[in-house]
């Protein structure tokens, strides 16, 4: 069930009506039922994988919680333990907890890895075996992809890890755990929520709040605008260039990458706005996934503004645990001896970052191009930290002022280019294609493509380009306002009623007329939907 469809609209409306009719205490059951309906109409055949995940994390969390509570209780009752005794007890409990957690993680991630990567790994293994003369057919499965498995697995495992860390109490009601995992707005493309932030909002019934309701609808509309009047059109150009990459050279490749960057941003963040709008109508605030990423002044900052919940998940559950682990600290001491204080200290952190971005890449799909995509980002981030002292000296020598606006503008532009190049890896049809595209990008110097009419040869006509330009301009203005801390919907709310009405009705009419729907466009689909 795609987000832009009559079925989804119907589901949303019926859920909203039922939600506000039901008594407060049971409103969460409406959400659970809707999620069930949503999943039923989207992929019943693979629904049992999600059910397994739910059962596993519900049970594991309860066990971990029991250990935590027993441990606490024991400490309370035996306040006279020595520091060493406390340490020994803690170690013993940790060991048991670790075993349980590992089982849970293996089961959940096991399903994800098996369903998503088994065929690819099998192929690769057998290719290697063939090189050394071992013949055989790579075993493969043809199990369908459960909807949203990449997202809900991360969300579910964050729950049991947080319980393991003692940050959360386990939820005893399995139906409530099911709701947390399967809540329908987040299934297709996130955001990857945290139990601490999301769960109580799901479970406590919310009273009808007219302002929240209105804001939710407005946010949904804004997302719809981004999706239908920007992303789809950018997609026409990006598809033309990426799917026929051998025909394009020089700046055309860069254009394709930048256009794709706009497309995936409008598509993904538009989808996020729609999802958050859907949830806000129920009074539920879902995590923000984008914060004007193209205003980032460094690739590092970019990943704090792009797909925020994925980055946060990697940070909290991969990067920090790895880089703060005993193994990595020991490694750090060794590398310090070999490479000196500055680099040596950073190397284990670089490795942790490397691993985290490797996982980010791999999470996007089972293809080498995604791996390179992840590593490209890691290399730039780690590289820039490594070269920081050199870079600083260079700026001093060239007497460049780094406090002024023009420098910040340069940083923003530079980051956009770097990120766009990374995009080539993620969007190209294969790793070889992406490498060839990069080669072609530098094979010719043709900046005149921006003025000689080439822009109209990618499938969009002049009027469409103009309309897209207007939307991008609006998006930039709104983003600047948001960057300065302005809350758009609240500001709009303070204006005269007629103005508010004109803006909203104008936006709806705009989408009706200029939206990419109807017989000339296939059903609006999301770039991230296959995850």
């Amino acid at each position: 069930m795609t987000l832009i469809s009559v079925e989804f609209a119907l589901l949303w409306v019926i859920t909203a009506i039922l939600y506000y009719i039901f008594p407060l205490k049971y409103r969460w059951t409406v959400l659970l039922a809707s999620s069930g309906v949503y999943y039923f109409f989207s992929g019943l055949k693979t629904g049992y994988f999600m059910l397994i995940s739910i059962a596993v994390i519900w049970f594991v969390a309860l066990v971990l919680d029991k250990y935590n509570e027993n441990h606490k209780q024991y400490l309370k009752e035996h306040a006279d333990l020595t520091r060493d005794e406390k340490k020994a007890l803690k170690a013993k409990v940790q060991k048991k907890k670790r075993l349980v957690l590992t089982c849970g993680l293996v089961l959940c991630f096991g399903m994800l890895v098996f369903l998503k990567y088994f065929n690819f790994l099998s192929d690769q293994t057998f290719s290697i075996l063939r090189l050394i003369g071992v013949e055989g057919k790579a075993p493969k499965h043809d199990l369908a992809f459960p909807l949203g498995i990449s997202f809900y697995t991360l969300q579910a495992t964050s729950y049991i890890i947080d319980v393991y860390r003692g940050k959360l109490r386990a939820e005893k009601n399995v139906a409530k755990v099911a709701l947390f995992v399967s809540f329908f707005p987040q299934i297709v493309q996130g955001p990857i929520g945290r139990f601490g932030h999301l769960a109580h909002q799901l479970y406590e019934g919310h009273r009808f709040n007219f302002t929240q309701f209105k804001y939710g609808l407005q946010l949904f509309l804004w997302g719809l605008i981004k999706k239908l009047t920007l992303a789809e059109y950018m997609g026409v150009i990006a598809n033309e260039i990426f799917n026929n990459y051998t025909e394009y050279k020089g700046f055309e490749i860069l254009l394709g990458a930048m256009v794709y960057g706009v497309q995936v941003y409008a598509d993904f963040s538009g989808g996020m706005d729609m999802v958050r709008g859907v949830a806000q109508v129920f009074g539920i605030e879902m995590a923000v996934n984008f914060e004007r990423p193209y205003f980032a002044k460094s690739v590092s900052e970019f990943w704090r503004r792009w797909h925020i919940t994925l980055g946060a998940w990697m940070k909290d559950y991969v990067f920090y645990p790895l880089s703060l682990s005993k193994a990595f600290s020991t490694m750090g001491k060794k590398t310090r001896k070999v490479f000196g204080a500055y680099i040596g200290k950073m190397l284990p952190t670089f490795l942790a970052s490397f691993i985290a971005f490797f996982l980010v890449g791999v999470w996007h799909g089972s293809s080498y191009k995604y791996v390179v995509y992840g590593l490209w980002n890691s290399i730039i981030i780690s590289g820039s930290i490594l070269l920081e002292p050199v870079y600083k000296k260079m700026l001093e020598k060239l007497k460049i002022n780094t406090d002024c606006f023009s420098w910040q503008l340069f940083q923003i532009f530079r980051t956009f280019i770097l990120v766009s190049i990374g995009r080539i890896f993620s969007r190209a049809t294969s790793l070889t294609a992406s490498i060839e595209m990069l080669k072609n990008m530098f094979s010719e110097f043709n900046p005149w493509i921006f003025t000689d009419g080439t822009l109209y040869t990618f499938g969009l006509q002049p009027r469409q380009m103009f309309m897209v330009f207007i939307v991008i301009l609006t998006l930039v203005v709104v983003s600047i306002m948001q960057e300065k801390g302005m809350k758009i919907r609240e500001t709009l709310d303070k204006q005269n009623m007629i103005f508010q009405w004109l803006v909203v009705i104008g936006a709806i009419v705009f989408v009706l007329i200029y939206g990419a729907y109807g017989t000339e466009f296939s059903a609006a689909s999301f770039v991230y939907q296959q995850f």
Binding site: R165, G166, K167, S300, E301, R304, K315, D316, F319, Y320, P321, S323, L324, S329, G332, K345, M346, T349, A352, S353, I385
Partner: protein
């Protein structure tokens, strides 16, 4: 203890005004690399082990919070 901490912080990020900032992590002034370096230095300096569990924004948003954390773990 505060002087040792301030020395570490200023060496790590001389561009940040640690005395007056109140949202070092929440506002993204210290990024994850900074945090890891900082934790490494703190562990070495104060002979404690800051674990992943302690990496809450509340514990690192202000210098005072960091001092509290160190005190908690040192005992």
């Amino acid at each position: 203890m505060k002087e040792q901490l301030m020395k570490i912080l200023n060496e790590l990020r001389p561009d940040v005004d640690f005395e007056n900032e109140t949202a070092l992590v929440t506002d993204g002034i210290l990024d994850s690399f900074d945090i890891v370096s900082l934790v490494g230095e703190i562990n070495a300096e104060f002979d404690i082990t800051v674990g992943v569990d302690e990496l809450e924004p509340e514990n690192f948003d202000t210098v005072a919070a960091m001092l509290d954390l160190i005190a908690d773990l040192a005992d």
